[in-house]
Amino acid sequence: MTQIGAHTERVRQRTHEGFLRHHGFRYAQIATGLCVAAVGVYFVTAARLHEPPSGGSWLGYTLGTISAGLIVWLAFLGVRKRVITEGHYSLKAWVSAHVYLGLSLVVLATLHTGFQFGWNIHTLAYALMMLVIASGALGIWAYATLPQRLHANRGEITRRQMLDALERLDAQLRDVAQPLDRAGAAVVRLSVEDTELGGGFLRRLTNNHGDDANQRALKALRNLPPPAGERQAEALAKIEELLRQKADVLSLARRQMQITAMLEGWLFIHIPATFALLAALTAHIVSVFAYW
């Protein structure tokens, strides 16, 4: 088990540092170079432009064309990752380029705006792009740090094992509760039938399970009238023990869910915002030429 764990650790570290460090930060260098060049050209040229800097100057069009091309290419990661290919343009290279070139858009597209913003489709496209980038940055952070936390959290237990443990505990609870009267049975049913492992996005993300049925069952157990007989007393003691065990497993699984939610949550902004951005970008470009 330890050996397998160590192996997984190595593999994990290699892949996750991989897309950021890919090819000696090649794409980080390309993206940085692109940004530095754009900033340099902007500050040399913008002052010499006849008109106030905007997307309508030659520099604006150039930066806009590069930015739009990048956005479309970046969005293609969704297609690319579904296609299994071999060769130099590995998915890892794509992801690495996606990350760094995506970040470079902050500079390129901002310069494209000429720092002119307003309540219009153009700024909407810009805002959506920044939202996509911000959520993507969250994703980079998540992918770079969370797998480790996920691993540390679960230790050597797999998710499957967590679920199995919960099922086993529920089965035991049901068995042990058989001799109990209606009130006792209700307490166990509360835990077995009403406990919700996950919940909605926010509940998962905040890991706030204040109304957890298992906890309520534990509380209710203590408020039960004294057991009728020795058998019942024994059952109740056993049930309390089982409920506590279940609480521990739940806590572990929910923490796992919380980290997973963080790991996956950004995509729920990144992907829809990307689609919205592509539409807004189309509207931005078409409208500019429609009302040239």
């Binding site: 040229t45 006849h50 008109e51 106030p52 905007s54 997307g55 309508g56 100057s57 030659w58 069009y61 150039t62 002119q116 307003g118 219009n120 489709i121 153009h122 909407l124 998710r159 499957r160 679920l163 099922e167 049901r174 509760a177 058989q178 109990l180 009267d181 209606r182 049975a185 209700a186 166990v188 049913r189 077995v192 492992l197 996950g198 919940g199 996005f201 998962r204 699984a253 869910m257 997973t260 939610a261 996956e264 949550g265 995509l267 729920f268 992907i271 829809p272 990307t274 919205a276 592509l278 539409a279 807004a280 189309t282 509207a283 078409v286 409208s287 500019v288 429609a290 009302y291 040239w292």
Partner: protein, 625 residues
């Protein structure tokens, strides 16, 4: 025969495969149902009470089922406390997750098949993933994308025209920035300028409110249109710098590789660079110069982008416009010599020719007039002016402004009027009427003079010298003792001094006279500024006097051109204040502007927008020019 319950307990194997079936018989007539281990039928479901219900035979093949715990059960979809069942109809009673199916047994008893609906939900590890809960990621993406596509692109593109009738302007969201204050009234009316979709704003759109000429009527119509559109300001009417077709041709590609590429690409994509909108940029914040006039903010008007300098087009123009007559002016140092409009034939419709001052042109204005004679400080003219006295506006040797009267503001001069400007000395009085008042010859129309003098003979005796105003000039009529008519037009006569006169028998011929109003209509010159003499400005001493530029004191002929040539300007313009105190700028804008080359370029922001608010009725607009 006793009735028994034949129990058939069926349990599904967790690992799958055939279920386990156990059979047992419970002797009648009654059996207990519950979770308690001592029940006849044990239902190990926590939802079921320890002693939940009992059943008993109520007849052949009939069973009565009754709750003893107060907790119900379900039969035929109804939640009940009690039920009478006929085994023949194969009823099923549900207790929690258990189903009790009744059917007649071979004996008189009943077979009860107990099964558990063991649909235990086995969670999959995918519950850890958000996808398990959040089904709509893809749908959300498509909905958002499609929504924006529809609202922000399709609707404005297709329905902007229709919706504008309902005062809805979906295309307004396309505006990349606010319009200047001058055009703000068009903010919701994109189509006013963006007439054709996917066609860059053309000049026609601009000129529909800004076209100058060709006549006052047309201009009034243009202004009326602007007012109808809702403009709070009177638009500035403009003329083309040159024939439009030649403009783009005359302009070279701008300097810089990127700008060149930009222009070539724009032209290739039907985005000409010689449009009004190429220079007058809207939807962007105008750049205000540091020394901007706060009373004439440039931000009130579209931002002016200078895409070409004067010099860039006016250098090597012949290579682009072979037929042009314009002389290149690559810079101030190479400004061609002034080529004033020189009158080559006077008359009601005089002819003018542009002749360079360097070739010493002579003007044929039909007049005999020596400036030198009039300006000599000790000559007869000076003496007469002194004699006229201060009361008559003279009293000293003549100065330029004694005859040349400044226009209001002092920029230029009023045209010379003989009676007003020369009449003080050159009297046109020819007789004294019965009331004692002097009679004057009508100046300007030869025939009227002839008619006035017809039949009149000489009066008075011939003195010498000129007469003062208010006196008749007797020698005008005494030249030859002949008729007053002949005398007036002969040497010594009133007309002879200044006009070129010939005779055809008894008929007088007079060379037509016309004085040039403006010699250099392609450039501006303001006499009123201090450095130019501060003409018309009282209390301000000009740096220069007229004589510094105009060599009138030496001119003996009316045909002399007294307009100074370029070196006079260059004495100050293009110099530094170290070189000369009155140093002036040397850029083209000093004397020329793009739309009206004959006028200097107004300072940025001028005229102030607020001064353009409508003050008159549309009908009278444009009358003021």
């Amino acid at each position: 025969m006793a009735q028994d319950f034949h129990l058939k307990l069926i349990t599904q194997r967790a690992s799958g495969g055939d279920p386990i079936v156990r059979e047992r018989t419970v002797p009648g007539p009654e059996a207990t149902i519950g979770r308690a281990a001592d029940s006849d039928i044990v239902l190990a479901d926590l939802a079921i009470d320890l002693k939940h219900a009992k059943m008993r035979f109520s007849g052949p093949g009939r069973v009565s089922l009754e709750s003893v715990s107060g907790l119900p059960f379900t039969v035929g979809g109804r939640v009940v406390q009690r039920a009478d069942l006929n085994a023949a109809s194969h009823p099923v009673a549900y207790f929690g997750s258990y189903a009790l199916a009744f059917e007649p047994a071979e004996d008189e008893g009943v077979t009860v098949t107990v099964t558990r609906d063991d649909q235990e939900h086995h969670a999959s590890p995918s519950v850890f993933s958000l996808q398990a809960r959040f089904l709509g990621r893809r749908n959300m993406a498509w909905a958002l994308g499609a929504g924006i596509f529809l609202v922000c692109l399709l609707v404005p593109l297709v329905f902007a025209g229709v919706l504008s009738h309902l005062q809805i302007h979906p295309d307004q969201q396309w505006s990349s920035g606010p319009l200047s204050k001058a055009h703000a009234f068009l903010e919701t009316d994109c189509k006013a300028c963006h007439v054709n979709t996917f066609v860059a704003v053309r000049d026609n759109a601009c000129l529909s409110c800004h076209q100058a000429g060709p006549d006052k009527g047309a201009e009034a119509k243009v202004l009326a249109k602007a007012k109808d559109e809702g403009s709070p300001f009177e638009p500035i009417l403009v003329s083309e710098h040159a024939e439009h077709a030649k403009l783009e041709k005359a302009a070279p590609l701008p300097p810089g590789l990127a700008s060149k590429a930009s222009v070539i690409i724009q032209r290739a994509f039907n985005h000409p660079t010689d449009r009004c909108a190429s220079c007058h940029i809207e939807h962007t914040k105008a750049k205000a110069p540091a020394d901007a006039d706060p009373h004439a903010p440039v931000t009130d008007k579209p931002d002016l982008t200078v895409t070409q300098t004067c010099e860039s087009c006016h250098t090597g123009m012949k290579s682009r416009l072979p037929k042009t007559e314009l002389i290149d002016t690559p810079d101030w140092g190479h400004h061609p010599a002034f080529r004033p409009l020189v009158m080559t034939a006077a008359g009601p419709t005089p002819t003018f020719t542009r002749i360079a001052l360097t070739s010493a042109p002579q003007e044929r204005n039909g007049l005999t007039f020596p400036h030198k004679l009039h300006l000599e400080p000790r000559g007869g003219v000076a003496r007469q002016a002194i004699d006229l006295g201060k009361a008559n506006g003279y009293g000293a040797a003549l100065e330029c402004q004694d005859c040349h009267r400044a226009q209001p503001g002092g920029k230029g001069f009023e045209p010379i009027e003989m009676e007003r400007d020369c009449g003080a000395c050159h009297s046109l009085a020819y007789a004294r009427g019965p009331d004692g008042k002097l009679k004057y010859l009508p100046h300007g129309e030869l025939q009227k003079v002839v008619d006035t003098l017809a039949g009149r003979t000489l009066q008075g005796s011939p003195p010498s010298g000129r007469q003062r105003p208010g006196e008749i000039r007797p020698q005008a009529f005494s030249a030859s003792g002949a008729s007053a008519y002949r005398a007036t037009f002969s040497k010594g006569g009133a007309c002879f001094d200044c006009h070129t006169i010939t005779w055809a028998g008894d008929t007088v011929r007079m060379a037509p006279v016309k004085l040039t109003a403006r010699y250099l209509p392609r450039g501006d010159f303001d006499h009123s500024i201090p450095e130019h003499g501060a003409i018309g400005k009282t209390g301000k001493a000009g740096s220069f006097k007229c004589a510094d530029c105009h060599a009138a004191a030496k001119s003996e002929k009316a045909s002399d051109m007294l307009v100074p040539d370029l070196p006079k300007c260059a004495a100050c313009h293009g110099k530094t204040t170290e070189q000369i105190a009155a140093a002036g700028k040397s850029d083209c804008a000093e004397c020329h502007s793009f739309h009206a080359p004959g006028e200097a370029t107004p300072p940025p922001g001028h005229p102030p927008l607020e001064t353009l608010r409508w003050t008159k009725d549309v009908a009278s607009l444009g009358e003021g020019g």
